[in-house]
Symmetry: C2
């Protein structure tokens, strides 16, 4: 009877679920209850906090909320306390964060008393890979929010200002306080005076939400923009050019955050062009920014062929420089040693640079995880990285702790997320891709949060019924069991599913050519550098599969601290999720399941496919709780994801069969598409 | 231990399984044992029998086999007796059939004593839809065996003669004694003197195997070839032209079989062009052939829009003509009332023409059943038809019995199979398509055989190990359980699987446009006659699905004899396999399973897909018992079949959802490909 009643309630709801395009993200407006918000003073940021509370209050009608800016020993940085209707913080931004937290807690039904919340990192920064021509590198949420082509490319409209404000508000609601608004493969032009004029406008739009602007800069800017003959970091003219440029920027944007630099990586210019070091380059810039409180985020994503194993090269290049960087330089390190693969072990640079600030770089945009087509909740991946134990200062030296200042003293702590945000009405393309933006902000604020908690928060805010009247609240139980629990479970399974249908058991970098979407383990044309080709990584042959990174191979394991080194050295101790990352093993190697490596691999791909097939069912069954537009949008993408999982399974396994000539396990599904067709067809053209 | 030994034996075999291209069909050579064959006289046909026995003997070495041509009351027509090393028959051809039967029985381990075998039909005829330009209409086994383009198109080579002989031998081995060597959509040119010269050559090559030649003729031949101004069957000039032509043919080919005519059907000329009837046309030709013992096979595949329901039109046109045809005219009726669909109820013409010879026409070539790509064993379909009870002369008046002379006196009995045989090295394209050729022959000989028996015979002859020495015979147990039983099961499931993934529950004619391969339930362009478009047949709308052929609809059921009429009139009595053939039902109609019609439909498509997925496993697991070439060939086609089953399921169900807006049952697999893509892409281009 209860079930029937719930069902009736749900049916009543259905009529009221208006189409939503996702633009409101996790900040969807609900009818607000009356609330009285008091502040001790007035300011743009406090006004924002007040506005949010007044317009979004869903707690007890007639409540009073006091906003108090007052230092407290329990409150660090932009943190806050919430207790009995009071939000207290060290600064105004903390109040704004506290306001968003209070609204979220009311909506998710969590306690609103005795809450103390401090950020794990000082600088919580998005990296927009936005090109000045308006395109985005590996961006799947439409064109750039900030740049476009045309003769009016530097004219700013009110529509743009509103969009930037909405972007800043969404970021502020999850604690993100910075944005690098141009691609790391940077155009020198962004530092030209006309472009800086537009940057000033963007900064002004975001300032009320506490989002500071950073710029990715091209190391050769002094030549390209300044007209100098060199960009040598030790050249006095170059040094002066950067000092002058910093002065110019800060005159326009007093709270400018600093520079992000990709130097001597993948063809970008850098100090090594002048036989200088990363230290020379980064410190020169850091000195220019220092007077204004700016920082340099210097990327460690470098891989000159100093070693036969690309996974070792960043460590080899940066660890010897430890201790030589200025205190306002932060080395920005990708989560894994290669490049944002579906699964990598953590980069050995974490914890290895003990006298240098190091910040993690995560990729929110799904370059290697199905673009905006696949539903993959990346929080699980980042949680896995942040909680990985480096053992650098004994057990418990997690990646989170070695980067957030708990273990090593760092003047600046920071974390970066390569953004997936663009001009699409839904911001990110896939409605569930917004969950990754959300998760990055939440983990940047609190690097010990669980993905379960984050998924729950996001789902409640993103999909809960807008109605709050008594009748419809009875739908909550049905909503929980009919929508929240199954959909949350789907999100939490999704990253492992993607690993399984793309590259399980430690396989990596098996993507087709440049678009990094479909399978391409066979991709190895002549004249392409080998470390851009999958066979370099999977090393499949008649006998076996995997990259030997033990002492008999590249010895990359030596970059890890004991006991990890011994764990990864021993095939029996290596976690199977990293097995083929560290070992080249025979096809008949016996797995813990009792199956052979080949069979296990087959079943992993099958699991991945079966799981996303089930996602389609889960989502269909959630239909009564979702508006038609977002429902159909996700449904269509899940269909394609399932097809892609089939293509991955069919492509990779049939390709490996060309080496091992082994049959599929008797009871598993056979391929549905020929290897020949998959090899010949660009993955995005496969239907 | 036994299992292990078998396995070892199998492994020993593997090395010896040489690649086979399928050319040998079910007549694969094995090392022969010594045998002594004696005959009372000599002739070309008896020589063939002797040769087959000598070269193919696998029975006890040193056996003696006597061939005796001598009339016997138990032997009818080309039948024979086999007992204690003696093959006896009324005529030489019977001896040849007996020889093939004896060899088959030895190979399959069946008794070789007290065998009496008589043919169900006198004329067991293939209809080759071969065009004179060398192409084949709906032929998927390559180009024509008989015709080709070019200035040497009428020159006959030894290679051609050999191929025709091999074709005749394969036919003789299963009792087929006739072949119509040109398309029913006939070119008049085949009756021109130069072409008849080639026909004579073809006939000569086949004669030693008892395969007589027939020609499909164009009704307008007197105009096109004879230069007359009319083809009016009552015109004396026309009558004389056909008489002269018959004389000319029989002078060249004394055992010429007769004509096959498609008249006034799908644009072909016919007597109605001159306001004459089918009777006028057929009898005129019959009279011309009668002096020589020739027959006219006149097709009942006509559908002028005399009624709103195409399924009724042939019956309406032909039943009034019953009793008016000459005794050497046979009306050739397709198994179902529409057109070779995956499943149709039997044509109501069977048994309804009581004073006219009627012959069934089956389609061996898989025009509507996956071409040469899908593995579909059609024996099950034909068995279903032959055993369908027409009730025309009380219970037990099966289609088989009302056509084979057991119930109605017919001067001639016959059966036709539209052939799937062409120039491909494997003859039929798909290695398993040869099983359909085989099955047609076997059912033409004995219309009460089971598909189980036929599948077993074909598999043993087509795939059994060639070795006969003692050691390898021990592999037989493993071969039976590892190959024969699972692969036979697959064959026997295959037609129902195809029905399920294409058009279950009585749906029909939902193919895409002309190629009749993939789904096209939406196909309905303007200016295409409606009875060529699927919506005419499925009649999907918001409320339901299916063609109402009861009294509230087209009343096609009235063409069936009671009690069938009442069975089909009552939705609760109608077998569910024919449900939507006879009824238009609401989407929520409750099926016997308790599911709604929509749910049942969904599960049928799912069943079809799941079953062919399992076929891939079954075949893979049979790999040790099959040579590499045929193994890979079937494996590749099964992969495509599975993909097609997915496309059918995705295309049809999503299309029906556009009418009913119903969700899929909660636990079933969701689509993997969008309706939009399937609709926009020619089925054969879908990968």
């Amino acid at each position: 009877m209860k079930i029937i009643l719930s069902f009736v309630v749900v049916l009543l709801c259905i009529g009221t679920l208006k189409a939503e395009n996702g633009y409101e993200l996790w900040l969807r407006k609900h009818p607000a209850k009356a609330v009285n918000v008091t502040t001790s003073k007035q300011s743009a940021v406090l006004d924002m906090a007040k506005k949010e509370l007044t317009e979004g209050w869903q707690g007890k009608a007639g409540s009073t909320i006091k906003l108090i800016v007052k230092a407290d020993k329990d409150i660090k940085g932009d943190g806050f306390k919430i207790n009995e209707g009071v939000i207290q913080a060290n600064n105004e931004l903390g109040i704004l964060y506290g306001a968003f937290e209070l609204l979220r807690r009311v909506q998710t039904g969590e306690t609103t008393d005795n809450v103390v919340s401090n950020p794990s990192y000082q600088r919580r920064v998005l990296n927009q890979w936005d090109n000045l021509n308006g395109s985005m590198e590996h961006g799947f949420g439409g064109n750039s929010l900030f740049w476009h082509k045309g003769k009016d490319s530097l004219t700013v409209t009110d529509a743009e200002r509103n969009r930037w404000r909405d972007y800043a508000r969404a970021n502020a609601s999850i604690g993100i306080n910075g944005s690098v608004i141009d691609n790391v493969n940077a155009s020198p032009m962004v530092l030209s005076t006309p472009y800086l004029g537009k940057v000033k406008e963007i900064a002004a739009s975001m300032r009320p939400y506490g989002v500071r602007i950073y710029l990715a800069v091209n190391f050769a800017s002094p030549i390209k923009v300044g007209g100098l003959k060199t960009a040598d970091p030790l050249d006095p003219g170059v040094i002066k050019w950067w000092q002058d440029k910093a002065k110019e920027i800060y005159a326009l944007i007093p709270d400018f955050g600093g520079f992000l630099v990709k130097a001597n990586s993948e063809g970008q210019p850098g100090p090594q062009d002048y036989k200088r070091t990363h230290v020379d380059g980064a410190n020169m810039m850091a000195d220019a920014l220092k007077p204004y409180g700016g920082i340099v985020m210097w990327r460690a994503f470098v891989y000159s062929t100093t070693d036969a194993d690309r996974a070792k090269q960043a460590y080899q290049e940066f660890v010897p420089l430890d201790g030589k960087f200025r205190d306002n330089v932060i080395i920005q390190v990708k989560n894994g040693p290669v490049d944002f693969q579906p699964r990598e072990p953590f980069s050995p640079l974490f914890g290895a640079m003990k006298k240098t600030s190091v910040m993690p770089e995560f990729q929110i945009t799904q370059e290697y995880l199905g673009h905006a087509i696949h539903l993959v909740f990346l929080s699980s991946m980042w949680e896995e990285c942040l909680k990985s134990d480096t053992y650098q200062e004994g057990e418990g030296s997690t990646v989170g702790k070695v980067t957030d200042g708990s273990i090593y003293p760092q003047k600046y702590t920071a974390i970066a997320g390569v953004a997936n945000v663009g001009l699409d009405s839904s911001w990110c393309g896939h409605p569930f891709a917004a969950a990754n933006w959300y998760a990055f902000g939440r983990l940047a604020w609190n690097n010990t949060l669980t993905s379960d908690q984050i998924a729950k928060e996001w789902l409640v805010q993103t999909f809960s019924p807008r109605e709050t009247n008594e009748t419809l609240l009875t739908a909550t139980t049905a909503w929980n069991s009919g929508f929240l629990l199954p959909v949350k479970k789907m999100m939490l399974q999704s990253r492992e599913a993607a690993v399984n249908y793309m590259m399980p058991l430690g396989l990596h970098h098996m993507f087709s050519a440049y678009e990094h979407y479909g399978p391409g383990p066979w991709y190895a044309p002549p004249r392409v550098r080998v470390d851009w080709t999958p066979p370099y990584y999977h090393k499949a042959d008649a006998k076996g599969l995997g990259f030997d990174r033990t002492k008999t191979g590249s010895d990359a394991i030596s970059q890890y601290k004991e006991p990890l080194q011994s764990v990864f050295a021993d095939v029996n101790k290596t976690p199977e999720i990293y097995l083929l990352w560290f070992h080249h093993l025979p096809w008949d190697y016996k797995m813990k399941s009792g199956r052979s490596l080949w069979e296990e691999l087959c079943y992993k791909y099958q699991d991945g496919l079966t799981t996303v097939r089930d996602f389609q069912k889960i989502w269909d069954n959630a239909k009564p709780y979702v508006d038609s537009q977002r429902f159909a949008d996700v449904q269509t993408r899940l269909m394609r994801q399932t097809r892609d999982a089939q293509i991955w399974k069919d492509g990779v396994l049939q390709y490996f069969q060309t080496f091992n000539n082994l049959p599929f396990p008797p009871d598993m599904e056979r391929p549905m598409t020929t290897l020949k067709y998959i090899e010949a067809t660009p993955p995005l053209n496969i239907k």
